[in-house]
């Protein structure tokens, strides 16, 4: 009996130590996501949600929470704060307009890690992340330049902000690299999400003779317009080929899973530190969706070659010489736009037909 009591005492003494070490290994990640649109948008938010689900497969990640259609701006702080109060220790805010609200909430909750998508501000416990979408955009431009017969390519553009302009330019540089005669016509819808207007904008480009379309919005309306009129289309955000089985060529797509899993792992291990992540095709954050079989074999081979070059770092879409619409040299031969210039891009390259609303 005495021996037993001794043993019990020993166990009691060891247990707390065991418990603390176990706690360090057992840190659970409870992540919360703020989405700008509905998960069912088949585009931007949908892609983030796929990433969230992939992250959830990690054993130490508890079922995560997401809140859809949160308006951007100061209002969003309340929603972010709500996630923190419910015990989330990792919060992703996935639209530009949440930037200041995220920093604001983060200031008062130092024990929570915040990750803000597509912004440029950070803090002790706030990192930001985005992808070099211009890389697959450039590749999709090559496909468009090769596939157009009328040399008119339509671009259904969202809002005139650097991210969208960068996409249009990268796409056009891709087009021009294989087909200098082709022009890219731009129509602004000033929407992220209005299928009706986007469909109409796509139709208006088809009306002026475009035979390949692409877009920047979150809904697949442009794809349906191309399908209905027998044109080709390049999607965006996620692989949406089921909306346009004949017209769909490819799409530059997001693949957030690996990044979200990495951040969750780092937070669990305690190795997370503030950084600005801008991953590209090399890290697999952005990809080009598989090419349609309508794309000829030589173009497929070219895309494979260019993809490898981008991943290896030998090809940069924004390497000079680059001229703007007026023929003025913006990047000299031998140099490249740096990240700062890319993030603030506000001119159209040669080959784009359209104006940037001022």
């Amino acid at each position: 009996m005495k021996r037993f009591a001794f043993l019990a005492l020993a166990i009691l003494m060891i247990l707390p130590q065991l418990a603390t070490t176990a706690e360090a290994n057992d840190k659970k990640i409870k992540a919360g996501f703020i989405y700008v649109g509905p998960v069912g948008d088949a585009g931007w938010t949908y892609a983030h949600d796929l990433g969230r689900k992939e992250m959830e497969k990690l054993s130490f990640v508890e079922p995560s929470t997401y809140i859809e259609s949160v308006p951007e701006g100061a209002e969003s702080a309340r929603v972010i704060n709500g996630l923190v109060r419910k015990g989330h220790n990792l919060v992703f805010t996935t639209s530009f307009g949440y930037m200041d609200a995220t920093l604001d909430v983060a200031k008062r909750n130092k024990d929570v890690v915040f990750m803000h998508c597509s912004g440029f501000k950070s803090a002790e416990n706030v990192g930001n992340y985005f992808g070099r979408m211009y890389e697959p955009r450039y590749l999709s431009g090559i496909v468009a330049g090769k596939m157009t017969k009328k040399n008119i390519i339509g671009y259904v553009a969202a809002f005139p902000i650097p991210e969208v302009i960068r996409g249009i330019n990268a796409f056009t540089l891709g087009v021009q690299s294989v087909n200098p005669d082709a022009q890219v016509r731009v129509v602004w819808t000033q929407t992220w999400f209005d299928p009706g207007v986007e469909r109409d904008a796509a139709d208006s480009l088809l009306d002026v003779g475009a035979d390949v379309l692409t877009m920047h919005q979150d809904a697949p309306a442009t794809l349906q317009a191309a399908e209905a009129r027998g044109a080709y289309v390049i999607g965006y955000n996620s692989d949406m080929r089921e909306f346009a089985p004949n017209a769909f060529l490819t799409a530059p797509v997001w693949n957030w899973g690996p990044l979200y899993s990495k951040i969750a792992q780092e937070v669990k291990d305690g190795t997370w530190k503030t950084e600005s992540i801008w991953w590209g095709m090399k890290e697999d954050l952005v990809q080009l969706a598989p090419l349609n079989d309508k794309v000829p074999a030589d173009v497929k081979a070219l895309i494979a070659e260019k993809t490898a070059a981008i991943k290896a770092g030998t090809l940069h879409p924004f390497a000079g010489p680059i001229k703007d619409q007026d023929g003025k040299l913006q990047v000299a031969a031998g140099s490249t736009h740096n990240d700062g210039e890319l993030l603030g891009m506000s001119y159209f390259v040669k080959g784009v037909q359209g104006t940037i609303p001022k």
Binding site: G37, P38, V39, G40, D41, A42, Y46, E68, S69, G154, P160, R185, V186, V187, W188, T189, Q190, T191, F193, D194, P195, G196, V197, R199, D200, A201, D203, S204, L205, D207, V208, A210, A219, P220, A221, Q224, M240, E242, F243, Q353, G354, T355, P357, K358
Partner: protein, 306 residues
């Protein structure tokens, strides 16, 4: 070019036209319905789901009508039977519509259907300029034409139409004449809501044959404004809906053609016209040409002494 522009105008204007017509029927009976946006979404989802499940577009349209009618009957019950606040109930209906379609639409995302296709009317579609835009369209657009004339005829020429208008103008007088006020109001709200639902279904079955959350993107609110713009007339609703659709279509085409006109300027136009017409119609109202139903927004209680 004019043909193409008119064609785009009709297609962009049709969902708003259905919604405005439905709202007019509501308001003619004296009930304000701010739930148009929600009803359109319910119609859009039900229409898509119905077509997806059955493979028939007709079933989809009927499903949209029925689903929006059921949702509208909630508004009718609250405002007609319980005499609740019409503004609050309508706003709640919009939020309800947004929420419930998001919930039940989850499984519909990414599915595809074969949407409405153009059917040319022999002879008429050969007319110069107006032939293609008006007579080489899908069946729902032809139905919207019929509805415009039908509703105008109903209110102006039929006994029931007159009774319904009286219910909206002066329910006590209608009651004295033996018109069942509450029943008429209930029917007007539910049937009007059903027509609004078809407007939503136009988006998910014809404009872009797919279901996406919140795909109406504010068109319901434009319809609410257009009711006043149209001063409760279905013909003017047609003009208003096409004006709105036309300016949107025009500014996109100007861009595609490469005009140097400011995009912001072009995009402001529809709203500018809305304000302009509201100002004009308000001035006309002050001059005594009021078309607004006198009893609009007022609950009717037989025992209420005035």
């Amino acid at each position: 070019m004019l043909e193409i522009l008119l064609d785009a105008t009709v297609r962009a204007g049709t969902p708003i036209l259905f919604a405005t017509l439905g709202a007019i029927i509501n308001e003619r009976a004296g009930i304000i319905n701010l739930g148009i946006e929600g009803l359109m979404l319910i119609g859009a989802l039900a229409g898509f789901a119905g077509t997806q499940a059955s493979g028939s577009l007709l079933v989809g349209v009927l499903a949209a009508f029925a689903a929006a009618m059921i949702a509208g009957s909630i508004h009718a019950f609250i405002t007609v039977q319980l005499r609740g606040n019409q503004i609050v109930s309508g706003l709640a209906l919009t939020m309800f519509g947004i929420g419930i379609t998001a919930l039940f639409g989850r499984g519909m995302v990414g599915l595809t259907i074969k949407g409405f296709e153009r059917v040319a009317i022999p002879g008429l579609s050969q007319l110069p300029i107006i032939g293609k835009p008006f007579f080489n369209q899908d069946l729902l657009i032809y139905f919207s034409f019929l509805l415009v004339f039908g509703i105008a005829f109903f209110f102006a020429r039929t006994r029931w139409g007159l009774a319904l208008r009286t219910v909206g103008e002066n329910p006590a007088a209608a009651d004295t004449c033996g018109v069942p006020v509450l029943l008429f109001r209930f029917l007007a709200v539910t049937i009007g809501s059903g027509i609004v639902g078809i407007g939503g279904a136009y988006l998910s079955l014809a404009t872009t044959p797919m279901w996406i959350e919140n795909m109406t993107a504010g068109r319901g609110w434009i319809a609410v404004a257009l009711v006043i713009f149209a001063s409760w007339s279905s013909y003017r609703a047609l003009a208003g809906a096409y004006l709105f659709g036309g300016i949107t279509a025009m500014q996109l085409r100007f861009q595609a053609m490469g005009t140097t006109m400011s995009v912001h300027m072009l995009q402001m136009l529809p709203y500018f016209f809305t304000i302009l017409v509201l100002v004009i119609s308000t001035i006309r109202l002050q001059k005594g040409a009021s078309q607004q139903p006198e009893g609009l927004g007022q609950a009717y209680d037989r025992e209420d002494r005035k």
